[in-house]
């Protein structure tokens, strides 16, 4: 161990950590965030939403089961750096194709182990997510802290263009552009019932697998695709994906979404949820340290049930900013629309009025910090969630939402009330 290369992590506030390199040599920058998932490291670092971030895993043993092609969530690694307590030198699982160390080396990922990740996590919890540098080439704390301070942050930065496809492709019948791996497409429908245009902003493959399983033909289009171009593909529904960075920095995407609202049933996940909210006239803000993990409790206000969800977001929607409360649609409770704890307590989903798009209902709330997790534009056949019903990694409790989207395309009514908590296959 002692002859291994050192790796150093410096935060912009001057905090410094020393570990051991377990990936490629180099120096990378990003916002330091922690993820509390106990399984699914491969899905985490291949999730394009982590672009611009150095991910710290709180689980101390990472790499135990190696890496395999089927668990890729995209064509490669998008996290700018990866930090662990211990990176397993061996891979023990019947699906393992290589060890995590080999994978990091081959993919030129800068990664560090041997770091007190709990200290780092507590620091981020207290001080907030911040810019960081992970380096195997510079051991000087002062110099590294200076570099971290000089690096780009996430706010106002459009990372979507850096991670999204530039050419459209159809999931299952075409290989995603720029992809060298054999892609696990999941179970493709023998005959698809609906065509979905999915705007890529860093879409996770498991969203595509889930849509395909729900018998959708999915055409993935670049983020700059216009509404007309999308509609020209004759979709039954449109989908807005997860993606990295600041939602406010991609106005073109939420404007396109606004253009499509009401024209086709619409479903958004994560960044897609933020896009819907912004299009509806709402605002987003940055959370202190975000939600990154697979154990977040979310209450579905329509069913009263709690879903354990997979989450990965640093920004959040301000529900009250969308519009005024519509008292008669909100069970007659004259609560502040932004008092989410209050709505959870009374068990009623509040409805506000968006100036342009009519009634917007709050459907899901995070029970840990009472933040917005889902909403529905009642007059536009559109809904979205902040969390990840496609999981990968994480629990499958919210998989019913793909059924809800299909139901919406099919013309069903109260779709979000469908079988919450009933896990779908796999």
């Amino acid at each position: 161990m002692s002859d291994s290369a050192r790796a150093f992590l410096a935060l912009e506030d001057g905090t410094f950590f020393e570990g051991v390199s377990c990936g490629a040599p180099g120096e990378v920058f990003g916002e330091a965030v922690f993820n509390t998932s106990m399984t699914g490291y491969q899905e985490v670092f291949t999730d394009p939403s982590y672009a611009g971030q150095i991910v710290v895993m709180t689980s101390p043993h990472i790499g135990n089961y190696g890496v395999n092609a089927a668990d890729m969530e995209s064509s490669g690694v998008f996290a700018s750096g990866f930090v662990m307590r211990e990176c397993s030198p061996v891979a023990s699982n019947w699906r393992a194709e290589e060890s995590l160390r080999e994978f990091f080396a081959r993919n030129r990922v800068v990664a560090a182990e041997g770091i007190d990740t709990r200290r780092l996590t507590r620091h981020i919890r207290e001080a907030g997510a911040m810019r960081a540098v992970l380096s195997t080439v510079d051991a000087d704390p002062a110099s590294l802290v200076e570099k971290a301070r000089a690096s780009l942050g996430l706010v106002g930065r459009d990372l979507v263009r850096e991670v999204a496809v530039t050419e459209r492709f159809t999931w299952g019948s075409e290989v995603p552009p720029g992809c060298e791996l054999p892609v696990d497409t999941g179970v493709l429908p023998a005959e698809s019932r609906f065509r979905v245009v999915a705007f890529d902003s860093g879409i996770k493959w498991n969203i595509l697998r889930r849509l395909a399983e729900a018998s959708c033909e999915v055409i993935v289009v670049p983020p700059a695709t216009t509404a007309d171009e999308a509609l020209a593909l004759a979709p039954d529904g449109v989908f807005f994906a997860n993606g990295p960075g600041d939602p406010a920095a991609v106005p073109y995407l939420y404007r396109t979404l606004g253009d499509l609202l009401g024209k086709r049933p619409l479903f958004g996940i994560c960044l897609g949820h933020q896009m819907l909210s912004l299009a509806l006239g709402g605002e987003t803000y940055k959370l202190k340290y975000g939600h990154h993990g697979g154990n977040q409790p979310v209450k579905n206000l329509l069913t009263g049930r709690v879903e354990i969800t997979s989450q990965n977001h640093g920004f959040c929607v301000d529900f009250a900013s969308i519009g005024e409360l519509i008292l008669e649609e909100s069970g007659g409770w004259a609560l502040d629309p932004g008092d989410l704890a209050g709505w959870v307590r009374v068990g009623v989903p509040p409805v506000v009025r968006s100036e342009r798009y009519g009634r917007v209902r709050l459907t899901h709330v995070n029970l840990n910090d009472m933040t917005v997790e889902g909403l529905e534009a009642l007059d536009q056949r559109a809904f979205s969630v902040q969390y990840h019903p496609e999981a990968a990694p994480g629990p499958h409790d919210a998989a019913y939402l793909f059924g809800s989207f299909v139901g919406l395309m099919h013309g069903d009514g109260e779709t979000l009330e469908a079988g919450a908590g009933t896990p779908a296959r796999r």
């Binding site: 161990m1 002692s2 950590f17 922690f34 509390t36 998932s37 106990m38 399984t39 699914g40 491969q42 899905e43 709180t58 689980s59 101390p60 043993h61 135990n64 089961y65 395999n68 089927a70 668990d71 307590r85 211990e86 397993s88 030198p89 061996v90 023990s92 699982n93 019947w94 699906r95 007190d116 990740t117 709990r118 200290r119 996590t121 507590r122 919890r125 993990g293 697979g294 154990n295 977040q296 409790p297 209450k299 009263g304 049930r305 709690v306 354990i308 029970l367 840990n368 999981a391 990968a392 990694p393 994480g394 629990p395 499958h396 908590g421 896990p423 796999r426």
Partner: protein, 1073 residues
């Protein structure tokens, strides 16, 4: 949904005595449930026969019945208390079985009692393997292929289709009792026969073997809104084939990808829903084929289990507490997470450390039994260790075990059976991890070791790396180790003692060197959320990292050292005392700090003390906590031998020890100095001597005469203790003892044959002595006090004798300088009172005495140690009339160890105890027997065969049995004595006299009661065959005349129908039964 208001009185059923497969984890869960239901305003009625539990403390329930956990007694309680609901899921298999019986026989319906937590159909679906397999098929989950057998030929037919090896699981037995693996037709026949006999349904499942597959457990909770969460995943280090209670287990699961983990999670939730567990916790077990990932469901328990206790301690998510709240109508999102206090319980814990549980066995107590680990649980306790990494936790776990090891080998105690080295790797056994580590030391590869052991390569690699770190420092001089090397060694889980061994130094030097190098431990929190939210409950483990989170307060504080793993000789009783010490000191305004490593206990509930350190009880680990916390005092006399052993070294290191000084403790253990004390006080004691050689022993024997009580000088629970009646036997013993441990001399005492033993528990504050209880043993001297039944108050001793015993106790306490608890063992023979032993510390009987008298002795002692005088405490008159008899009886585990002899002797073998309370001694004794065996023979045939010295004493017993309607059956010698006394008796052949003989009669179910006192020490004697057959067939089996007398009276009491139930709250401290 808020709590239910339509019920107000809830009955809880406990799990009865500690037995293998059902230990104090159910006290932990039951105590939590009582507490939370009380806090919520419900009236709680509790039935549990185990007096050593915290849950049976009178303040935990409104109405506490220390009564047998049998349908007939619980019905009596229901009749008297008329509860609205019965919560059956927190009392283990015993509680659940009892509830099922009450539901099935219509008792619950008759009294309008609702089963909450789990409905009858749910319990049956979860427990009945056939219904369960059908349910799994309905939801598309795979189970091992199997069939039900009611006979050996059924089983052979099933195996014809599934092949060998086959797993045999009897229906409705606890901890896998009666199960096993058959690799051939002979084994199949014997396991199936035994299994059918043990199954209440006469049914066994014969199942496709998944031996060698990876084994997992999921702890699930669900509320009535169908919110369901996984509290914890557990991966077994030992592959399928070893009972999970006997497996090393690890949390969280380590070698599953997210896809596989989520598949298991989905399956667990689907199972909860399909089985219909509406509220509460369940445990689901899975196996995965390591070759292709095929997932099969093994079983589910629709109740709180041993694993849920482990999961609660491993994550900080209190399953039992929440299960009780869910049962009365709350939903998970309405319950706050105890540890963060700001987030709800409807989440899944994320843990940023690794937890390892290692079982503790006691095979040395049961010679003759097969020590291989299999599907039938044999361990008597367990330890849990928390580290950041697996290897750190594994090292900690092995030094927590109290087996004299300081980690996984390299401690100077490695000894390997070279001839059978491969076998020790291939066949699961207690020492296998040591063999694995040694295999890596000998250069074997991970692939090889994994292939032999079926232990996952990831675990093997972790062990290989520990060994590699050992190798890096082995043979180096301590002062050449640099910061980096020392830090790596500590981070890999090596103890200071191991480093000392590897570097040829001593532990203190390693510690000093570590401090010089500034390699110091850090403490991290167990917070349920991997640091995502702030934790407000101080629950810590030690690791070697950058940041320490302990933040000690500057309050007045006391540290309590726990008792470590349960084992024979040191069980729940000591944990009970530690918990009471924490409560008492907390009441006095102290901050309490608990250090312990036993996940089954109430002491390791983070609610019990102000701060909890889940750490091994070794010098190194305790000192590390001490140096962080700097308490004003440390309590070492409540947790039994474990902390007591540390007293000297802690004191030498400057730790302030509260209460009795370590030198006073030593004085009581130093036979020579103690004899001087007794002489000075004019107290009698049996003649004694100490011998290091055979010749010395013979000389001493000549001086003091036979029989002799012989034992090694350093023992726990009478280990290695025997009674020698002859020189030949003594010589044989001495030869073995001097060979095994030449450094430890052997102690020889004159054995007072036929004497009555008496135990006394007392508290001394330096000026006065309070005697908590005088306990008269039922079995005469020679049976370990932990194994013999006893009664408060004495039922046969004269007032003068009792007065002398009290006098001696007071004199001894003051003379030795006891500050706190003291236990004295006396023997009374021919009106003379002899002192056998004094232990100035908490004893096994403290909980029993406290329950029987209503005076919480351990609390009294803790207050004394904090400086409160006995005179200030307003204690009731110790000589008051109690107006009731309380009998404590020991529970023996012989059924778990086929082949071992069930005869009682000076070596303790019991795992737990029960208490019976009644207005007269026979009734109290009857209850204690019913609490253990769940039945007493009410007629039929009594087989009596006793050794010559008992022939005279047995006559009245036989006559009594005859009058009670028993047919008497005896072997020739005993029959002759009985006939001479005019008792009708039938003769039966001894085993060696031909067929059919007594063992045939036992096996055919022709005998309901066995009285058989041992003839001598020869193993495989007739007596041995009789006793083992009785154990195997569940026949009441008595090995002493005194017990036979008591049992006969008990049967009479039972037949008279005068056994009633009584609540502790009605007994008070002043008496009345």
């Amino acid at each position: 949904m808020p709590r239910r208001d339509d019920i107000s009185k809830i009955l809880l059923i406990g799990s009865g005595p500690i037995v293998i497969g059902q230990a104090c984890e159910f006290d932990y869960s039951g105590a939590q449930a009582c507490k939370v239901l009380r806090e919520d305003g419900y009236e709680v009625v509790l039935v549990n026969s185990n007096p050593a539990t915290i849950m049976t403390d009178p303040e935990f329930a409104h109405r506490t019945y220390v009564e047998p956990v049998t349908p007939s007694f619980v019905e009596k309680v229901i009749e008297r208390e008329r509860p609205d609901a019965l919560l059956p899921t927190l009392g283990g298999q015993t509680g659940l079985n009892c509830a099922v019986a009450l539901a099935e026989t219509g008792v619950l319906e008759r009294y309008g009692v609702e089963l909450i937590g789990a409905r009858l159909e749910v319990i049956k679906k979860g427990e009945d393997r056939r219904l369960f397999a059908e349910a799994m098929a309905r939801i598309g989950l795979d189970t091992p292929r199997s069939g039900y057998a009611y006979s050996v030929s059924d089983a052979e037919e099933i195996v014809a289709s599934i092949g060998y090896p086959a797993v045999i699981r009897p229906s409705f037995t606890m901890g896998g009792a009666g199960g096993g693996i058959a690799y051939n037709v002979d084994e199949l026949r014997s396991v199936v026969t035994r299994g059918i006999a043990l199954s209440p349904a006469g049914e066994v499942l014969v199942e496709e073997s998944v031996i060698g597959w990876k084994e997992y457990e999921m702890e699930v909770m669900r509320d009535r809104n169908d919110n369901a969460v996984i509290v914890c995943s557990i991966e077994n280090f030992d592959a399928m084939g070893v009972h999970t209670g006997d497996s090393i287990t690890v949390a969280p699961a380590q070698t599953l990808t997210d896809r596989e983990y989520q598949a298991m999670r989905d399956a667990s939730l689907a199972i909860m829903r399909e089985i219909g567990v509406e509220t509460g916790g369940s445990n689901v077990q899975f196996a995965i084929d390591p070759k292709d990932g095929r997932l099969v469901v093994i079983e589910m328990n629709p109740r709180v289990s041993r694993s849920s206790a482990l999961a609660s301690k491993a994550t900080g998510f209190p399953i039992a507490k929440f299960a009780a709240k869910l049962a009365v109508g709350y939903t998970l999102d309405e319950i706050p997470n105890d540890i963060t206090r700001k987030t709800p319980a409807s989440f899944e814990p994320s843990i940023d450390y690794t937890v390892v549980k290692v079982p503790r066995w006691a095979f040395e107590k049961f010679p003759g039994t097969d020590q291989a680990l299999s599907t039938r649980m044999k361990s008597v306790g367990e330890v849990m260790a928390i580290g950041r990494t697996f290897s750190e936790a594994l090292g900690k776990a092995f030094r927590s075990l109290e087996t004299g090891r300081t980690g996984l080998g390299v401690d100077g105690k490695d000894a390997f059976d070279e001839e059978h080295f491969e076998r020790y790797l291939a066949v699961p056994n207690e020492n296998r991890p040591f063999y694995m580590a040694e295999a890596f030391r000998r250069g074997r590869s991970v692939e090889e070791v994994s292939a032999l052991t079926h232990v996952d390569p990831w675990f093997c690699e972790q062990m290989r790396r520990m060994v590699a770190v050992e190798r890096d420092i082995a043979g180096r001089a301590l002062d050449t180790l640099d910061v980096e090397q020392m830090r790596i060694a500590k981070r890999q889980g090596l103890s200071d003692a191991q480093i000392a061994y590897l570097t040829g130094s001593v532990e203190a030097e390693v510690r000093a060197r570590r401090m010089d190098l500034d390699v110091r431990p850090t403490f991290k929190s167990v917070d349920t959320c991997a640091a995502e939210f702030e934790a407000s409950t101080p629950y810590y483990y030690k690791t070697y990292e950058d940041e320490d989170e302990a933040c000690p307060s500057d309050r007045r504080k006391v540290m309590i050292l726990g008792a470590g793993p349960n084992r024979i000789g040191q069980g729940i009783e000591f944990d009970y005392c530690c918990v009471h010490a924490a409560y008492a000191l907390s009441e006095l305004g102290y901050e309490t700090i608990m250090v312990n490593c036993n996940p089954e206990t109430v002491s390791t509930d983070y609610d019990t003390s102000d701060r909890l350190y889940f750490e091994p009880l070794t010098f190194e680990d305790v000192m590390d906590v001490f140096e962080t916390e700097r308490p004003s005092g440390v309590l070492v006399t409540f947790g039994g031998q474990t902390p007591l052993k540390l007293a000297r070294s802690l004191e030498a290191a400057g730790v302030p020890i509260l209460g009795t000084r370590p030198e006073a403790i030593d004085l009581a253990e130093d036979r020579k100095r103690f004899a001087e004390v007794l002489d000075r006080l004019g107290i009698r004691y049996p003649a004694a001597g100490t011998a290091s050689t055979v010749a010395e022993a013979i000389n001493i024997a000549k001086r003091i005469g036979y029989p002799l009580l012989v034992r090694p000088s350093y023992v726990l629970g009478g280990q290695g203790m025997v009674i020698a009646y002859s020189e030949e036997y003594l010589v044989r013993y001495m030869e073995r003892a001097t060979e095994v441990s030449p450094d430890h001399p052997v102690l020889l005492d004159r054995f007072l044959e036929g004497a009555i033993e008496v135990d006394v528990d007392a508290v001394c504050d330096g000026a006065s002595v309070y005697i908590g209880g005088v306990m008269e043993h039922i079995e005469e001297a020679g049976i370990h006090s932990g194994d013999s039944a006893c009664c408060i108050p004495p039922f046969s001793l004269g007032a003068e004798t009792v007065a002398r015993i009290r006098e001696h106790t007071r004199a001894l306490a003051l003379e030795i300088g006891v500050m706190g608890l003291m236990n004295v063992q006396f023997a009374v023979k021919d009106e003379q009172v002899y002192v056998l032993e004094v232990n100035p510390r908490a004893s096994r009987t403290v909980p029993f005495v406290s329950k029987a008298t209503g005076v919480p002795l351990a609390k009294v002692a803790a207050r004394v140690m904090a400086g409160v005088r006995l005179a200030e405490m307003d204690l009731p008159d110790e000589e008051r009339e109690l107006g009731r008899f309380c009998v404590k009886e020991a529970v023996m585990p012989f059924g778990r160890f086929p082949g071992s002899d069930s005869v009682l002797g000076p070596e303790m073998k019991s795992t737990g105890e029960v208490m019976g309370v009644a207005a007269d001694f026979p009734s109290a004794y009857a209850k204690s027997q019913l609490a253990i065996d769940y039945s007493l023979p009410d007629g039929g045939t009594a087989f009596i065969s006793v050794c010559d010295r008992d022939k005279r004493a047995i006559v009245p017993v036989a006559r009594h049995l005859h009058h009670l309607g028993f047919r008497i059956l005896s072997t020739h010698g005993t029959a002759r004595s009985l006939k001479a006394a005019g008792i009708p008796v039938e003769e039966v052949l001894k085993v060696h006299e031909g067929r059919p003989n007594v063992v045939d009669a036992l096996k055919n179910g022709d005998v309901q009661l066995v009285v058989n006192t041992p003839f001598g020490r020869e193993t495989r004697s007739d007596g041995y065959h009789i006793r083992t057959a009785a154990v195997e067939h569940g026949i009441t089996n008595i090995t002493t005349v005194s017990a036979a007398q008591a049992v006969t009276q008990a049967i009479e009491a039972m037949l008279s129908g005068r056994l009633d139930v009584v609540a502790l709250q009605d007994m008070g401290t002043e008496g009345g039964a």
